[in-house]
Symmetry: C2
Subunit: 473 residues, 2 copies
């Protein structure tokens, strides 16, 4: 019996799709950059069905490619052009919120649950699931776990990894590992969940998770600050951290070019401050206390900083509408940059103390390749995560002879500077297929060997998402 027929027998013919119209949406990434053929799309409804699919594929030697919301920025969720066509295993039908325990501050969800749905279910129970990112309306919780998604609240709440207490995973031999612990402390052997978190579907298929929730903040204070340099921004960050501790929930930085592009390309966006500045910082404090203490606290910090010459202008949001308007400027960067031209996105993180040196060095390195080339900077400064984005107008980019070659050279130039400063080439986007060459270029040999040993131990047949994450040995 062939694989498709066998799968249809296992999970029902209506859950195994093969028509081009069904496969189109799952075989191409959302930016239309990567696509490859698939044997079929399997849509299981339970972990047991996932297990049956995996066993069947293992018998036939057919790769299994788990897919969540297909929002990867690294081509991690769609098939390769070459190699055997995989079964794409969609978790979309497994989308139940199984339980919420407000006293334990946990919730158990199935992998296909959309991130925004998780956030809403937590909020309805008076709790916060803090992971928040651009794709939250369509990405699935399983995908965010498999890729250890970051976002804008890492500074306060950590990465996805830090908000997962337990997992249910289907292993390469079809075993279902039920590790849905909801415990804050559990010192009973290797913490296996951390192997699967961030493994990009290469070690097992996450079918459910127990998430850690937090008290729902009731107050927010937000300010927009103009500054002369990243070094000044870093000084201000250290001050806010020292004075506000965990109340600091965001410290985002963009440069003047980024703000200009947003204002030029997204209707209704304008600068929250009047004085032009080379660098802009959005600060958010969050807390559960009553009253206006947060606004007063942020205002006092900003007044001190202004007195010390650290900032050139600042605006404190005086209403929810102003607060949202400030965040909308920040959230409009992707839309603006897409309209404005061609940005070669990078995703470096360096130690916070090295951020100013990194921005200077990356600028110089890129301009050594393309004299005078401007760069957009969008940084989760509180995490040391800098998206340094060398930027071309559409016209200039079209005039480049070897565009692929130049893009690679520019990304290497930026990533080399991050590596020199003990940083990373992928802070939050992951590896997928796009960054395989970077894995080979920057990862220590011993670390790659360890990863390969783990992959071999857990997936000796190389069944799960082959050709992703780990460069050829």
């Amino acid at each position: 019996m062939d694989v498709i027929a066998e799968l249809s027998g296992l999970i029902g013919a209506d859950a195994v799709l093969t028509s081009p119209s069904d496969l189109d949406a799952v075989t191409e990434d959302w930016r239309g950059r990567y696509r490859g053929p698939a044997l079929c799309l399997a849509r299981p409804a339970t972990a047991e069905q996932v297990s049956a699919i995996v066993r069947c594929c293992a018998r036939h030697g057919v790769p299994v490619l788990p897919q969540g919301g297909n929002t990867s920025l690294c081509g991690g969720a769609v098939p390769s052009e070459a190699g055997p066509a995989p079964v794409i295993l969609s978790l979309a039908r497994m989308r139940a919120v199984r339980a919420i325990d407000p006293v334990n501050s946990t919730m158990e969800v199935e992998a296909g649950c959309v991130l925004a749905t998780v956030q809403e279910a937590a909020a309805a129970a008076g709790r916060l699931y803090p992971v928040s990112l651009g794709a939250e309306g369509s990405c699935q919780i399983g995908g965010t776990i498999a890729t250890n998604a970051g976002g804008t609240s890492v500074l306060r709440y950590g990465n996805t990894r830090d908000n997962v207490l337990g997992l249910e995973v289907v292993l390469a031999d079809g075993t279902i590992w039920s590790g849905l612990y909801g415990l804050r402390k559990n010192n009973t052997g290797y913490d296996l969940k951390h192997l699967f978190i961030g493994s990009e579907g290469t070690l097992g298929i996450i079918t459910a998770a127990t998430l850690k929730l937090h008290p729902l903040p009731t107050r927010h204070a937000v300010a927009w600050v103009g500054m002369a340099s990243p070094a000044d921004a870093l000084t201000l960050l250290t001050r806010v951290q020292q004075r506000c501790g965990a109340r600091l929930s965001a410290f985002e930085m963009i440069n003047r070019l980024q703000l200009d592009l947003v204002m030029e390309n997204v209707p209704g966006r304008r600068s929250p401050i009047e004085t032009p500045a080379d660098w802009h910082v959005l600060i958010e404090l969050s807390d559960n206390s009553d009253g206006d203490a947060l606004d007063a606290e942020l205002q006092a910090i900003l007044e001190d900083a202004f007195g010390d010459g650290l900032l050139t202008d600042a605006a404190l949001a005086a209403s929810d509408a102003q607060r949202h308007a400030m965040w909308e400027v920040r959230h409009s960067v992707s839309e603006a940059n897409k309209k404005a031209g061609v940005g070669l996105t990078t995703d470096c993180a360096v130690p916070l103390s090295a951020v100013p040196a990194f921005i200077d060095a990356a600028t110089a390195a890129v301009r050594a390749l393309v004299p005078g080339l401007p760069a957009i900077v969008v940084a989760h400064l509180g995490d040391g995560n800098v998206h340094f984005i060398p930027f071309f107008s559409f016209k200039d980019w079209q005039a480049v002879a070897d565009r692929d070659g130049l893009a690679v050279a520019i990304r290497h130039a930026v990533n080399d500077e991050a590596a020199r400063l003990n940083g990373t080439f992928s802070a939050e986007h992951g590896v997928g297929r796009v960054q395989l060459a970077e894995m080979a270029r920057y990862k220590p040999v011993a670390e790659l060997a360890l990863m390969r040993a783990v992959k071999q131990a857990l997936d000796p047949q190389n069944l799960f998402n082959p050709g992703r994450l780990l460069p050829p040995g």
Copy 2:
């Protein structure tokens, strides 16, 4: 050449100790319960020397037992009576604080650095290393990482795991993996550090670490509260979390018996409140703000709770001296219990919502074995971690015919109730050798199989700390 001579040639004869007087302190655990023979004590000064020792032992098939401060409660750091005598590898000479970066809020330390020294070095730089526990004056940072130590600040800052950003590890083939990243975000493949954290020396030897630091709190508010039940304590905890968010830094609970034992056995300790109560809670808020806001906040919460009948009495520390006195009562429990009788310590965690049911069920289960037996309860309630300690007077314990058998039966009775409530038998103490039978009893087969696959992949020769953590297959 024999192993001892070869090791002496590799790291110097004065760093390889074999005399009984040198071995006594490292072959017996600090409570004098477990001991076993060692081939020698090797005291390397660098990761390269650790690597040389490991290669030598691998060639000769001699086990390597890494040892930190030898403060394990589970017999994890001393040799077994049976089996080949290992080389005990002490990290004590590798104790440098290599670097502190206050802007990045990180420090790089060698594994042999004593935890209290790490805390002090961080504080001197205006930062907090939050992990705090009874043995902090002698346990080493490497040991706390290898065992993922818990303690009294997990509620606010997480376990040791959550405060480690990078590791340097010597692997079973002698390779030195340099993973001393100081990054908040790094999504470049499997997060290998989490494999070694909590692995109790069975996968590699941690030689250095990059730790995550936090702003140093400048204000504390502490209260002692008398309550009628664990359920009331849980209600109060939920309220404090919702109103104070991350300012809540400790929520510890003990029962009346524990408080009585402290007052009877430790000179100078007295109850912080006058009204007798069955249950006592210590609450600490910490923050970086100025002024008396914290005290006022805690007082308001307690007044509301008193109005609602949640608590029977409360005392807010009015001075640093009163604050320390309250903490001293909490910190005196081990000393008091050791003097007072024989406590059969357990280390369960359950979902917070299940704590009251767990205490009731454990009490009933133990009394089914020994009618009327009292139990001490010491709980890190904010983490769901309950040390439920069935307690005998010295005289009663001596009168027990089969003490070992009864101890096992009682611990199983308690741990069974935790397991039934989706909890764990080891929240913070680890497995070592003491809990091997519990690993076999409670861990799902699929989870043990995964752990064994990882062990086999990283240490195929079973060189590191054999007979620990993983029960025989």
